[in-house]
């Protein structure tokens, strides 16, 4: 990265610098401004661009930061009240679309959706709760598919494959009725390290290892304590 060409851009009216080809999220963070991300995390390439919580303004237009690379002269707005509220609004939509009962969730404390809620200081969503029905799939040998918690980020359907490169997770349906499915035959044959990989790839508690969870004391989990300044998550 260091031998890549330097680019200058403007970030919230201030001059900023990064290198050619760097993802916008990283370029902004390098300059000390946090950009929340859910479907994206460093290394996910090409990005999925589904959750939209990293929405920033580039040259006057809203766009998902994860989907762009930094370019010379870009005018980026990120830390404005207006954009922060837009991103919080998108996050709140995820909280009412699913059924996120944090107190009873194995992933609580380590859930990226929850961590982002903390970071935004969200006490409750502005939208009405939907309480939609989602079927839970407990038929897996190792994994539990808890669709109430799925945020449709596509990490599992697009990025995950078993040891032989086969697709294990897929979507069915369209729009609000889109649901994630697990290939039970493949799941049954997956070694435990792959199952663990799938569960940790999921940003929420939608893919959970059966018989595990609640195994670390409150206070020691990923999002229990306020994030350090500039940390990647939370």
């Amino acid at each position: 990265m260091s031998d890549a060409k330097k680019v200058k851009f403007s970030l919230d009216g201030k001059e900023a610098e990064s290198h050619q080809g760097v993802n916008l999220v990283q370029a902004i963070e390098e300059n000390g401004t946090h950009v929340p991300t859910l479907c994206w995390s460093p290394g996910i390439e090409p990005c999925l661009g589904t959750c939209r919580v990293c929405t920033v303004k580039v040259n006057g237009r809203e766009t998902a930061a994860c989907a762009l690379k930094i370019e010379e002269g870009m005018k980026i707005e990120c830390d404005t009240d207006d954009l922060k509220d837009l991103r919080k609004g998108i996050l709140e939509l995820l909280f009412v679309e699913g059924n996120h009962f944090c107190p009873g969730c194995e992933k609580s404390g380590d859930c990226e959706l929850q961590g982002m809620g903390y970071r935004f200081g969200m006490t409750h969503p502005r939208f009405p709760y939907r309480f939609s029905h989602y079927e839970l799939d407990y038929r897996g040998v190792h994994l539990l598919l808890e669709r109430n918690r799925c945020i449709h980020c596509k990490r599992c359907t697009e990025l995950f494959s078993d040891d032989q490169g086969r697709k294990v997770f897929s979507f069915v349906g369209k729009g609000k009725d889109t649901r994630v499915e697990m290939n039970l035959d493949l799941e049954a044959k997956m070694p435990i390290h792959k199952c663990r990989e799938a569960a940790s790839l999921c940003p929420t508690g939608a893919i959970i290892l059966k018989g595990q969870g609640f195994d670390r004391p409150v206070g020691t989990r990923r999002f229990d304590n306020p994030p350090d300044k500039g940390s990647k998550n939370g």
Partner: protein, 182 residues
């Protein structure tokens, strides 16, 4: 005594965990009682409002018609209402039934579930018993709620921050590091 603010609390469809957390403010309770007087509350066992309250703390969501009436009574008698905990804010654990038809829930609870009495044919009902609502409602869908304290339960620190903030004047924002959902 005269300038003490009046506080009322209640647990609707809740587990009293939020009340426990309230008591968890430990020694700060001593500071609190210098500032406030509890009226209607399980802590005082006062069952009817004896005077208007400055602050009402609501634990639990709204799962039956009695909850609706109590919540309205709190709204009528309190200047400021606070939803305390996940159940008050989004229904919480009781709201797990919200995507299941009520009839199935009642049958499972009283007739077919493993804890049901063998041979039981009746779902308990009586004019004096509350009627179960079609789903569990967050408090802010029934009355106007002024503040929200998330958590299961909200930590004692968060409750203290909110109460002391309110009592000292205005509560603008909650300390973010105290906002938790579990």
């Amino acid at each position: 005594m005269a300038d003490k603010k009046v506080v009322a609390t209640v647990s609707l469809a809740g587990c009293f965990g939020c009340h426990m957390s309230m008591l968890d403010i430990d020694l700060r309770l001593l500071d609190l009682v210098q500032l406030v007087r509890f009226d209607r509350s399980p802590l005082t066992d006062i069952k009817k409002f004896t005077e208007r309250a400055a602050i009402g703390l609501i634990e639990g969501g709204v799962c039956n018609d009695e909850n609706v009436h109590v919540l309205r009574e709190f709204r009528l008698n309190c200047d400021v209402l606070i939803s305390v905990g996940e159940c008050a804010i989004m229904g919480g654990l009781p709201a797990l039934r919200n995507d299941i038809p009520l009839r199935e829930c009642l049958e499972e609870a009283y007739l077919t579930g493993p804890t049901a009495v063998q041979g039981q044919r009746i779902i308990p009902h009586h004019v004096d018993l509350p009627k179960i609502l079609d789903r569990v409602y967050p408090c802010h869908e029934i009355v106007k709620i002024d503040y929200y304290l998330p958590g299961c339960p909200p930590s004692a620190d968060l409750i203290w921050a909110a109460l002391s903030g309110l009592l000292s004047g205005k509560l603008d924002t909650l300390p973010r590091e105290l906002v938790k959902y579990d």
